[in-house]
Each structure stands twice: as structure tokens, then as C-alpha cells.
Subunit: 356 residues, 3 copies
């Protein structure tokens, strides 16, 4: 059985197949309108969401399926002390596939190990959000005609932005892509992501200047800078305006430079840019729904395939202490670790470094 | 594309067509059981509700459609700073029609301007609640055989009661109706509604005495008087009992005087009256469901018709400052105003007077 | 019209018919996939729940029906002062059957008296939870091949555990069953339940020693002991470990002694026992869904049958004062009482003794 916990769970060929399927659904929706008749999606949003949850639910309905929903953790069995593993066993009795959002890193992985139905990670804390990346790549594919040879600008919160890390991981797998990383000094891409790009030979530059970067870009991925990320609010005040995109600044961008944003946006993209044909962020929301349809069909079809292999180890000496990881919260969890490309020991749930 | 923001958005002919459709659905429900197959209603109750939300959802299911739900604003993208306009663009990707309840006046109108799917106002703050009026008029039509020539009593909170204002606006359009307005002095009908009735030549009287008014009425619309409306709780205590309806008082009403209430009722209608054939408030709840079915069918059928024209102006000098209006909350909103029948300048979102 | 408020509402024959139907649904799910087409279940969880609610909703979907949901009481019409009776009348307009969970004892009964659709009690405070008992008995029936001649261990909180009282009531009706009641002194079975077993001639023993009891049992029903039940937390600390089940202790149980738990479990069953074939608690969750399907079909089919007769009296001298009972909260409620087998006067809503 296959799950989707991290965008890298799927090969480049699998991602192409998903995009091809999404395009077929867009072209011929009626052919898919009964594909999931009699099937149920469990929409488990222990951390509430509007967009992602409604996108999944709309996707299942468009495939002719049904939905059972949990929105919020209050009063749920989790709040009564039930483990995520037990929740997964329980939901396996009631649904055929589930999408899970939870505030702890690694929560979707824990559930997938106990579940007998496919699990889709709809956002595990600050860790991964792979279906956003599916929305992103279909959008780039449709708007740019492919996923290769692009100068990709990413702007805003590159340190905490989980969709940023996923997008880089995904787009690094295609030929001829380079990145322009635009952020305040305080929110630069984490060291380990930078190191991986270097190790993979991916060209990139880092800059704090959005306007100066714009003319170089084939696409720009905007993210929100949150006030809470700054200990000193004055630093936020000083910085915030420099990372706002508007029609005036986009005047200096290429005529075919598309702008993406995972949404919701607050003020980092001015509404005066919305009517520009390069504004692709609402088309992105629509693409996300179709990719989720393709994903649901794939995982249901592959129920009997073996799960992906992982080079995972368990050793009582290696314990994750990250307070944001499910490892420090889930009763009875079996700690698992792996060695990354640099030989660094990391937690298999949250990917943080394990101090041996 | 048509929306329903205010009951006056529909002509008298359109309301008649809705009632005729509702009656046909009541008579032949099986003919409509697949009418909305493959369609989705977004049930967006940012301000939670039981009755109105379940009524809309039941209506969509009875038409063979599906529903995606938001109940409460906590954890929603709105709470993350997303505008209502962006929420509308987003929901246009996931549903075919939406019903919205929100605590700000004008919220449904803002969404309808950005949305590419029909928007139904399910209650925007203290402003409008047009589908309640649809339930009211179908009930009067069925119980009284028509909407004309009636002496209509309205009792309770006439000042804040949004359903009261809507009902008066709707029933004023039919021949030969007159109103008996029954309320404490503190909760009398607002000046502008009184002025409009006078200008339209609608006969009415105002009284504080329910028992004295009862024998005159062909129908009585009861509303709840809330304690919180009175600065001095003692005034509430003194008043509350005078506006309670019970079997004893109804002894003095006409034998065919029906009693309506938008529900939920607390104590303003005694349960000892429930079994009286003139108690129509639960039949009203059922009628509301059928009118919502007819409404959904109409708006989906009219997706390609142009929106109603409005004589709306934008002028930077004219800014709404009503703190209960979406204008003072929605980032990037374009203030819009109009001149009412008296030539008074009003906000197009909340209908309050604009100080020029 | 039939409802399910208390497991004893159904005869032994009716329970057998439900189990037979559930087994048929398990064997031939496709035959039932359209049974409830066009029907709606109202899933009214004023007290939120994950498992029970999702079980009901999954059940209705598997029968081809639709669901409308209330989860939590915040913002509901109940929180605006609406009575449960009015809520029942309202929901009768929108659904064909409803399942209700609420924190007050007797809440489901109040609703069933005002409702014109069948009402299923999904948990009324600490009072009853009859559909859990349906899950329990189907599990015992499937795992043990019948419901008779069993030595039934029940462990944990026997004082407050509503599923415990229901299970005893249900299993006492079958031939040759005896009970081993395992609990701390502070959480022993309530006097009135003990007295009833004696009066019915049901063999039982009470012990505080789980390990000593294990070898005698054909089945063991585990329940959670909650810290909040003890005024003195030190007593809880001292006791808690003695009522935890694990693989080591189960070594001393019979090879065919099954273990049930209503879930969610916290730590009272160690995960090291989960892979043992005698661990039946997740199979129990699945059985619960199928019994709910059989129950929905039964109640919809029997809509026109008369309700069960009750020997109920109303007398203004007899008033329930239990603050956890709907009688002390529901405006306009008609107090009802009955005489139990001992001639003791009890409230018909919450079953507590009425001081005359």
C-alpha cells in the first residue's frame, strides 16, 4: 500500500503520471464522476484548515465518493489521550483513504504505519505539505509547458516555509532548473537545504532584494512572512514592505513570469496584480483540486502494492527529542532513524538531527 | 450570474416562481432527487448556526447534490487574515454554489463581487437574512392562500430583528397589506423603515399592547426579545412577559390567525400553544427547506444571466465607518454607495447612512 | 415509530435479527449499497466524539445515504436557549433518522418524544450508550460463536462506566452467563446494578485482583479508569497500574479469552498485546459500524410501528432533581417516573431515584 507523506515518496515518473491524470480529469470530468462511487475519504483535520480540507473534500465528491470529516482536535478522541496509531486503526474501519493534518511533525508517518488504508499527509506541523507541491508543479507544468530549464524565484519565509522546501526538493529533480532565493537575512533557507542543493549541483543564488531579482525569473513563488517569526517586532516592521509584490514591481519582471502563492495571502501580493495574466495563484488552487483527485485515484488503485522501502533503523540509543515531533508525544512510539546523504543521523519522523 | 443578498434582489414574479417551484418539489420530490447530481454546495457558516445550515444542507442532499461545510471561523483561512474576496475566489474552485453566514454586514455582497459562483446570503450580521423571508412568504402563501389583503402583526424586537425588516420589505410589495407593529418603546421599528412604509403608502399602526392587537390580525410574526438589547436589565425584566404568546392570549385571536416565528424560540411562544392548528412555526421550518431547494435550482440555472444592475457609486470622499460593516474590516475593499429614495447617501454593503 | 434509547428497548429476538442483518451486510455489502438512497441521517453530536460519530456516518454512507452533521454545541441553537424538544422538531424537517450525543442524561429520550423521526441515543451523559453494546454483542457473538454460557470479566471503572452497565444488562438476558467484576473498591459496580443481578439470579463475583481473575474468563471487557474519578490523586496513582492489561498478564488467560474495549484506550491495554489474536478491540470498532447499519435499516423500516409501551406516570409531586438529568435543564419538560422491579420510584429520563 502506498501513502504520500513527503513529495519525494513519488518518483519523477509517478509525478508525471499524476499530472497526466489530472489533465485528463480536467478535460473529461464526466468520465471520472463515478470513479470513487462507494468509497469514503476520511478528512482528518485535527489542525483546522479551510482551503486544503475543502480542496480534498471537493476532489472526492467530484470522483463520486463520500466524505467523513473531523475538523479541529477539541473533543476528539485524540484529546482524550488516544494515540495517532490507534486513531489510524480506527479510521481504517470507517474509510477507504484518509487525508490528515496535525500540528506535530511526523504525525502522518506514524498514522501510515498503523493504518490499513492509504494515508495522505495534508500538513504535519512545519514539516511537509506534499499536496501543495502537487498543486505547484501542475501549475508550473501547465503555465510554462514543462518543469525544466526554469529560473525559479522563491521569496519570503524560506526558513520556516514548508512548501518552499518541498518545492525545491521537487523542482531540483528536473533538468536545468536554477533558484533565486529571495528573503530577509533572518529567514534564509536552512543550512541543510542549501547543502543538499550544493551536493546535487543545483545552481542558486541568495539575495535580499526582490526588485533586483525579478527580471531574471521565469516564475516567482511568493510566501507570507509572519510577524511571529521575528523576536523583535521592529525588525518585522522594517522588513515587511520589501517582500510585498505588486503591479508596479511586476512591471520589471518577464512578460511570461508567472506568480504562484500557496494561499492564503495576506498582503504579500497586492490585489492590484490579481488581474494580470501572470497571476497564477487562483489557477493554482484549482489545479490543487485536480491533483488531489489524481492522487486519490492512484493510492486507491495501488492499495495492494508494497510500501516504498526505507533504510530505517531502530536503536534505543537514538532517540528524537524534538518537542515538535510526534516522537516526544506519541505513547508507545518506536523511534526510527536514518543516515542522510552526508551521513548525518536524522529522525525518520521529523528529519531533525539526532544527537547520538 | 444571479445572487441572493437581499430579498429585494428578486422581483415579485421571481418570488412567485420560487414558491411555485417549491410547491412542485413538495408534490413530486422524486422528480427533483437527481436535479443537482454532480453539483456541490459550499455551506460556509463562519458564524455557526444549526437550523439554517442544516436546512441548506438537507435541501442540497434532497436535490441529489453534495455539500462541503465550514462551521465556525476558528482555524479558518479568514482567521489567518484572508479577505472575504479571496475566500470567494477560493471557494469558486471547489463548489458550484455557496451559502454564507458571517457576522459582518455586507460580507455576502463582498463575496458575491469576487465569486464566480452564485452566492446566497445566509445571514450577514444584523443586516439581512433573505432565505428566512423566503420561508416566511411560502408559509403565509400556503396557510393564507395568498400574500395580499392581510393584517400582519409583527411582535417583539422590531429594532434589531433582521427578519422583521426583510418581511416588511417583502410583504409591502403585495396589494392591501397592513401592519400592526407590536413592541416595547425601546425596540420600535427603526425610523428609516417607518419612513419607507409611509412613503410607499403602506398602512400601519404601532402599539405596545399585544393582547389588544391580537383580534385584528390575520397573522402574527413573533420574534425574540433578547436581554442583551437592554442596557438596564430591570427594563427587560419588567417588559419581557408582555411579549410572550400563549394559548390563553391566542383565544382572543382570529380562528385563522396563523403564528410564525423564525426560530429558535426561547420562551416568547409558550409550548402550550404548539398543538393549536394556527401554530405554523415548525411548518415554516419545513417550508424553508423547500424554498432553499427552489432557490438553489434557480441560481444554478441562471449562472449565465447578467447580475442585477445597481445604481452604485464609488467616490473616495464617501467612506463607510460602521464598525459592524465589512467596509471597516476587509483589506482592499472598494467602498460603494448609493442614494436611497429620500436622496440619502448610504453604504451599498450595510445600508447605513454615510456622513459625507 | 421505534427509537433506541436503552439497549433494553430491544428484545432478545430483535437483537438477534440485528446481528443476523449485520452479518449479511458484512457478507454482501453490495446488496445494501443503495438501501438508504435518498435518505438522510442527522449526526447530532452536541458532545463531540470522533469514533462514534464517524462510525454512524460511515454506516449511513455505506448504505447509500447522506449525512448532515452537528459537532459540538458552540454556536448551535441549543446554546441560544432552544429546547431539545424543539431541536427534535426542527431536525424532523431535515432528516429521516438521527443519532444524538449530548451531555445530559435523558436527552435522547426527550428528543424522541418530540421527534417525528427515529432517534438513536449515541450517548446521553453518563447514562446509556446502547450502540456500543450492539458493537460489543456482535463481537462476542462472532468471536465466541454465541452469547451464552460465558464467564465474562469486566475490569476497570464499573461505577461510572455506562458501557459496563449496558453490557451487563444485555448479557444477563442470555442463558448461563456469569460475571467476574474486577475493580478498585472505589469503583465497584453501583448497588442497584448489583441488586438487579441478584434479583435475576445471575452468578457473579467481585474482586480487586485482575491477574487472579484472568484464568477463569472466556472474555474480558476492559474499561479506562480516569484520574478525575478520584478525589485523592494519590489513590489513583497507587491503583492505576493494577488494572492495566498486557501481554505478560494475558499469558495466564485462556487461549480463547477475547479482550474487548469500547475505545479509545489510553494505557489500560498495552500495545504489546495488540498483535495477539485474542485482542478483539479493533474488530469491535468494525463490528460497531455494521451493527449501526443494521440498526438504521431496522428503525427506518419500522417508522410506522407503534413505540414501545412504557409504564410511565406523571405526578406533580414527583420531580427529578438530578443536576445531570435533562429534567433540571429542559424548559417545559414533563417529569415522568416509573416504579422499578423493587418498587422504587425512579426518573424515566435518568433512572435515578426520586425522593418522594
Amino acid at each position: 500500500m502506498r501513502n504520500l507523506i513527503n513529495i519525494t515518496d513519488f518518483t519523477v515518473e509517478e509525478l508525471q503520471a499524476l499530472m497526466d491524470k489530472a489533465l485528463d480529469i480536467i478535460a473529461k470530468p464526466q468520465e471520472y464522476a463515478q470513479s470513487c462511487k462507494g468509497k469514503k475519504l476520511a478528512s482528518l483535520f485535527f489542525e483546522p484548515s479551510t482551503r486544503t480540507r475543502l480542496s480534498f473534500e471537493a476532489a472526492m465528491h467530484e470522483l463520486g465518493g463520500s466524505v467523513i470529516t473531523v475538523s479541529g482536535a477539541a473533543g476528539s478522541s485524540l484529546s482524550k489521550g488516544e494515540t495517532l496509531a490507534d486513531t489510524a486503526r480506527m479510521i481504517s474501519c470507517y474509510a477507504d483513504i484518509c487525508a490528515v493534518r496535525h500540528n506535530l511533525s511526523g504525525s502522518a508517518r506514524v498514522m501510515s504505519k498503523a493504518s490499513s488504508i492509504p494515508v495522505i499527509n495534508a500538513g504535519d506541523g512545519g514539516h511537509y505539505h506534499p499536496t501543495q507541491t502537487l498543486a505547484d508543479i501542475l501549475t508550473i507544468y501547465r503555465e510554462k509547458g514543462g518543469l525544466s530549464g526554469l529560473t525559479i524565484g522563491i521569496c519570503g519565509d524560506l526558513l520556516y516555509g514548508r512548501t518552499v522546501h518541498s518545492l525545491i526538493a521537487a523542482m531540483s529533480r528536473y533538468e536545468g532548473n536554477s533558484f533565486v532565493l529571495i528573503s530577509p537575512e533572518e529567514l534564509k533557507l536552512p543550512e541543510h537545504v542549501v547543502e543538499k542543493m550544493k551536493a546535487d549541483g543545483i545552481p542558486f543564488e541568495e539575495t535580499a532584494d526582490l526588485e533586483e531579482a525579478l527580471p531574471k525569473l521565469d516564475m516567482l513563488y511568493m510566501t507570507r512572512i509572519q510577524r511571529e517569526r521575528f523576536e523583535n517586532p521592529k525588525v518585522y516592521e522594517r522588513l515587511a514592505g520589501s517582500y510585498i509584490l505588486d503591479a508596479r514591481k511586476m512591471h520589471y519582471a518577464k512578460k511570461d513570469c508567472i506568480v504562484l502563492h500557496p494561499l492564503p495571502r495576506v498582503d504579500e501580493i497586492s490585489t492590484d496584480f490579481d488581474s494580470d495574466p501572470r497571476a497564477a495563484y487562483f489557477r493554482e488552487a484549482l489545479n490543487g483540486k485536480f491533483m488531489r483527485e489524481a492522487l486519490i485515484l492512484k493510492l486507491l488503485a495501488e492499495k495492494d502494492l508494497p510500501a516504498q522501502e526505507e533504510n530505517i533503523y531502530s536503536d534505543p540509543r537514538f532517540v528524537c527529542v524534538n518537542h515538535k515531533c510526534v516522537c516526544t508525544h506519541e505513547r508507545g512510539i518506536k523511534h526510527e532513524v536514518y543516515y542522510d546523504a552526508d551521513g548525518t543521523l536524522r529522525c525518520a519522523y521529523c528529519d531533525e538531527i539526532i544527537e547520538a
